[in-house]
């Protein structure tokens, strides 16, 4: 049977709509489910006290602090490296074998499951560099993990900069460095920040790689070399060992709230920044 172009158009549209609606509903359902189950647990005490009795009572303050520390270490390490690599690849080299190899490696690294990063971090940072299960080991491991994402998104952002901006800057007597800092980087910044935020999201949500490198100690970390348990790990352990489903949902809900806040804040920042130039 033949379908007229008009009919096939209608069918295609309906299908695409249906898929979009299903996906959105699914997302909303998951979020709502966790928030409904978890938000009632959230209280000032839950946020401001350290866990007691393996997490059965008390709060989750130490895991919030651990998450923050580990993520900050990862971002502080990965952002300059990743953004630097992206600028090197786009501005300082001609396309060739070297760039292809670097790009291939970054692509391959991005596809590796996080537990492999965990294993690498365990062997390299925890054992070989003798950093032990610690904030720093976890942070560095996560940094390595998000590096490919940051490189890729930054590179895309830099390539998307209007090619004439470079010419304009050079024609006004700019040096290469001035051109990169003054004309290329500001235009690429929104894209670069998006990449970093994606990275932050992955750090905050990661379990496998952190459990192997930062450990799962519930004590409040006192330095970069203390072992730490992040919120995601805490949530995983609470749920898996059947310690307290209620508190697991509470932690998960808080994680979701954090990620929402990061995204919204980043969006506002970006809009402000972009509006300045347009």
């Amino acid at each position: 049977m033949r379908i007229s172009p008009k009919k096939s158009q209608i069918i295609a549209k309906t299908l695409i709509w249906a898929v979009a609606v299903i996906v959105i509903l699914l997302l909303i359902f998951i979020m709502a489910y966790i928030l409904v189950k978890g938000l009632p647990t959230l209280s000032w005490q839950f946020l401001s006290e350290v866990p007691r009795d393996m997490g059965r009572s008390g709060g989750i303050l130490s895991t919030i602090v651990s998450t923050l520390l580990v993520t900050v270490v990862a971002v502080v390490v990965a952002t300059p490296l990743g953004v630097g690599t992206a600028f090197y690849l786009t501005e300082y080299t001609r396309e060739g074998r070297v760039t292809r190899i670097i790009r291939f490696c970054a692509g391959a690294l991005a596809a590796i499951p996080s537990i492999v990063y965990g294993l690498f971090g365990f062997i390299f940072f925890v054992i070989y560099l003798k950093l032990g299960w610690s904030v720093i080991s976890g942070g560095l491991t996560l940094g390595v993990m998000i590096l490919p994402t940051i490189i890729r998104t930054s590179e895309d952002a830099i390539r998307a900069v209007h090619p004439m901006y470079r010419d304009v800057s050079y024609s006004l007597g700019g040096t290469k460095w001035q051109t990169i800092v003054g004309a290329v980087a500001p235009s690429a910044l929104p894209g670069i920040i998006t990449g970093v935020i994606l990275g932050i999201g992955r750090c905050v949500a990661e379990t496998a790689a952190v459990i192997l490198t930062a450990g799962s100690a519930l004590r409040m970390p006192t330095s970069l070399f203390s072992p730490a348990r992040t919120m995601a790990v805490h949530f995983y352990i609470l749920a898996r060992e059947g310690i307290s489903m209620e508190r697991a949902y509470g932690t998960a809900a808080l994680l979701i709230v954090f990620i929402l806040i990061i995204n919204v804040a980043a969006n506002i920042l970006l809009n402000k920044f972009v509006a300045k130039g347009r």
Binding site: H162, D167, Y170, S171, L172, T175, G277
Partner: protein, 253 residues
Amino acid sequence: MDNRAKINIKNLNFYYHDHQAIKDVSLDIKYNEIYAIFGPANSGTTTILKAINRMCDLIPGTRTEGEILLDGKDIRSPDFNITELRRRVGIVFEEPVPLPMSIFDNIAYGPRMSGIKNKVVLAERVENSLRMAVLWDEVKDKLHSPALRLSGGQQQRLCIARILALEPEVIMLDRPCAALDPISTFQIEESLKLLKERFTIIIVPHNIQQAARVADRAGFMLMGTLVEEGDTDQMFVNPREQKTSDYITGRFG
């Protein structure tokens, strides 16, 4: 008018990979004159401008042969500072491209990169340049709004102002009035005639009438070769070459 040459171009050949875009061109541009380089599409006018301040060095696979002298010094010798060259010989591209920042910052971009930080000096430069480019009255109340919001014609004048702010010695303009209405075109042309007191100007005009109106001398380019050059008074009335006369009278191109 000073009769010494500001720029000497001697036997210039220019290649994009295998394609030769400039073929053995020699010409002199004198101090404080307006020199028009004109010709039909693809004759190499843009390329010659980009060769003069070495913007074409940025395009991979290009090759330059011959000599270009600025005040008698070879601009391609290794000890000629290339950023300084571009400051001294400014170019306004055919396509106006404001940077995604405010009007003020666009104009102050060049001076800032040359190391000027003093706010008063910068503000002065910005105002003077905008006045010379006949844009000041239209933008004086919104200097800090984004330059991308300007109209096409305003953007073109912004790009002219941006070069003027460098206080260059030579200004090269590639079809500076392509997006302008007749009134702005007239104003820019009048402004150029004043500016030549202070600068040497090379212009790729957007038509022959414009060359005749503003230029002291002109060179006619065809397929990368310089067919003829001379005083505009003489050249447009009584060209020496058949090809020039054909082009001027609109018989081809």
